[in-house]
């Protein structure tokens, strides 16, 4: 009897970042990092309720999984755990099988010069996902867009990474969407920020790593931007409001990028971070308000729309052209509305 369900198989190639530096800086740091990385991966992989293959080599790993939803749960848990421990990686996900063919070991012991061979060859899908990871200039995951079925798209989100030092050109990709546990829920008011302390600490960790990267090499922090973009894309902006001169019901990423002065300065120190501010503003504008139409089309939402644009104007973020933002992230009509509001505010002396 044939199985009516189409057999699924996905592969991930995951490469640990910063190992070169760890190995250079401290002989103990490198093995510790590798050990934490491999243990975390294996422990989370053991929870996958589907066929799994894991193949480690050096500071990288191939993983094959027989279920998309199980794979997404796995990668979200790995991202949360390792990023929280300041262990960063970049990875690509694609459909396919590893088709690994182990090379037979030839160990000749007891001779003057022992001969020891081991390893595996992998199939073409493994090569493809390796190169997808190589060309991905961000942190976290990139998933092959065309491989997704309609019901799988919801678990991913649009994101982008900059391709040049100036962060003026962007490449769009799809990331695994952050779940509610990672990205947190709406914060009723700034006094209740501790309710989402966990997500704030998670974002702090990534921002600190980005700023540290900038001290190692100029503009290195831009590699972290894709993760912030994915966080914004995964957040819920439905309930955000501006009332009595106070932001209400905002997602943690909004607080971290927009409201908190010290972290905002941190973001502004990253070349290309202007996109984060615009993306947040666009999310506020394009999300449906109380009357189920996008806020920027609803005059009842003018206060909240104008306030978010006013923040961009006051940070002097609207003086340069808006044209170079990736279209997958900010729709042209939203950007146009944003531009109109910013000009109007500047004309009125804000």
């Amino acid at each position: 009897m044939t199985n009516q369900r189409e057999k699924e198989s996905w592969i991930v190639f995951l490469d640990l970042l910063g190992t070169k530096d760890s190995a250079k800086i401290s002989s103990s740091q490198y093995p510790l990092k590798i050990e934490t990385f491999s243990h975390t991966l294996l422990e989370h992989a053991q929870n996958i309720q589907a066929d799994v293959k894991v193949r480690f080599f050096a500071d990288s790993v191939y993983l094959q999984c027989g279920s998309f939803s199980e794979l997404v749960d796995f990668v979200a848990a790995v991202r949360w755990t390792l990023f929280s421990e300041q262990i960063f990686f970049k990875a690509a996900i694609a459909r396919g099988e590893l088709e690994d063919r182990p090379i037979v070991q030839h160990v000749t012991e007891g001779r003057l010069h022992p001969f020891d061979v081991s390893g595996s060859f992998f199939g073409p899908a493994a090569v493809g996902v390796y190169y997808a990871q190589e060309s991905f200039k961000g942190i976290g995951f990139t998933i092959e867009k065309n491989a997704l079925k309609a019901d799988q798209v919801d678990r991913t989100c649009h994101s982008a990474f900059p391709v040049d030092d100036e962060a003026s050109n962007w490449v769009a990709f799809r990331d695994i969407r952050h779940g509610g546990g990672e990205i947190g829920g709406p914060i009723p008011s700034v006094e209740e920020i501790e309710e989402q302390e966990n997500t704030i600490a998670f974002l702090d960790t990534i921002l600190e790593a980005a700023l540290r990267a900038n001290t190692k090499r100029k503009n290195l922090a831009r590699y972290y931007l894709s993760q912030f973009i994915s966080c914004i894309q995964s957040s819920n902006f439905e309930d955000i409001d501006f009332h009595d001169r106070q932001w209400r019901n905002f997602p943690p990423i909004f607080y971290h990028v927009f409201m908190n002065q010290s972290t905002r300065k941190g973001y502004q120190a990253i070349r290309g971070s202007r996109l984060l501010f615009f993306l947040i503003a666009a999310k506020v504008l394009e999300t449906n308000g109380a009357r189920s139409v996008p806020r920027y089309k609803d005059t009842a939402c003018n206060a909240v729309c104008n306030e978010v644009v006013r923040a961009l104007v006051s940070q002097k973020l609207t003086t340069e052209p808006f044209s170079k933002f990736p279209g997958d992230l900010i729709a042209s009509d939203v950007l146009e509305d944003l531009g109109r509001r910013s000009v109007s505010l500047r004309m009125r002396g804000h």
Binding site: E43, G181, E195, A201
Partner: protein
């Protein structure tokens, strides 16, 4: 007492892994303890030290804890290491409390903060409950408490009290009995209690009220402990001089004389620092002069020091300590 408080995060399921406060726990020092450390150093002359955090994440697949922890290097000696297991589910086994690991606290993640007592599987293991939102505060409470015990003067007094054959386990039991007798703890069966947790009650961690109550609890306990401790004033002088900040700063004989003259109880050692700010800022210099003049002070020039007696540090001491013009140290003195 050497360093190393290890936090072991264990039995975190795939479904709730992102609800678990790993980032907060990773940043526990930065988010909670650093400000408490600064505050206590300035306002009470207490230097927290000797605790570092090494979180390790577990999963429910590894129910055999001994085997699982062995694979993670836990049997490897790492100085004095305190272990905290945070679990979303019950364990089949628990690691044994040994000399190198004098304390094990098992925190069950549940819907409400729970009772502190001995663990059903092992009476030497402290067992308590916390929610996902409160677990970081619980861990901070334990670490603050252990940091206080690790700070150099309490450590010396504790060692003097326990004697050559004493174990930290005995001291922890003394703390529990003290807390029970003082009416802070309902039962006296737990192997350990954190004074920070008792002091916090419903307060947020690190508030002025919380830290003040925490210091008062330790004061009461230390005064009870030192009344039975065999620590001579000479030993105390040597202990102070062994501290890196004081090694080349204080003359031995005057320090011994000042300690010999001091009554039993709490006092504060004020030591002038070679501070440019104190030399060039007239307001600060005046306050420093006023402070040292008012104390039983010894030494001359930039090496002046003095003792003040009583539970509270002398006037201006906090401001001068915050401005880096003095070292301020809380000292517990036993009977002569």
């Amino acid at each position: 007492m050497s360093t190393g408080a290890r936090i072991l995060l264990a039995a975190v399921g795939q479904n709730n892994v992102t609800n678990f406060p790993i980032p907060v726990i990773q940043k526990l020092w930065e988010l909670r303890l650093l400000s408490a450390k600064k505050n206590l150093a300035v306002t009470a002359g207490i230097r927290l030290s000797g605790v570092s955090i090494h979180p390790i994440l577990g999963s429910p697949q590894h129910r055999n804890f001994s085997e699982w922890s062995a694979a993670r290097g836990f049997p490897i000696p790492c100085g004095q290491s305190y272990r905290f297991i945070v679990s979303d589910n019950g364990w089949d086994t628990l690691p044994t409390v040994v000399t190198n690991n004098p304390l094990l606290v098992a925190i069950d993640l549940q819907k409400a903060d729970g009772y502190l007592g001995p663990h059903p599987l092992d009476v030497d293991v402290a067992h308590t409950g916390a929610t996902v939102k409160t677990v970081a505060n619980h861990l901070a409470d334990f670490l603050l408490d252990i940091s206080f015990a690790n700070s150099y003067l309490p450590a010396q007094i504790i060692q003097g009290t326990l004697g050559p054959t004493g174990t930290l386990k005995e001291l922890f039991r003394k703390k529990v009995i003290f807390a029970h007798q003082a009416g802070h703890l309902a039962e006296e069966t737990a192997p350990y209690v954190s004074f920070s947790a008792l002091a916090r009650k419903s307060d947020k961690f690190g508030t002025e009220a919380h830290l003040d109550a925490f210091v008062r609890l330790w004061d009461e306990f230390m005064l009870r402990v030192i009344s039975g401790a065999q620590i001579s004033r000479e030993q105390m002088a040597r202990t102070i001089l062994n501290y890196p900040s004081y090694r080349n700063q204080l003359p031995e004989r005057p320090l011994l004389r000042i300690l010999e003259d001091a009554p039993q109880g709490i006092c504060h050692l004020v030591v002038q620092k070679r501070s440019m700010e104190a030399r060039t800022n007239p307001k600060l210099r005046n306050k420093l002069d006023a402070l040292l003049t008012g104390l039983d002070s010894r030494g001359s020039g930039g090496r002046k020091f003095g003792l003040s007696f009583g539970d509270d540090p002398p006037l201006h001491a906090a401001e001068l300590a915050a401005s880096d013009a003095i070292y301020l140290t809380r000292v517990y003195l036993g009977a002569k």
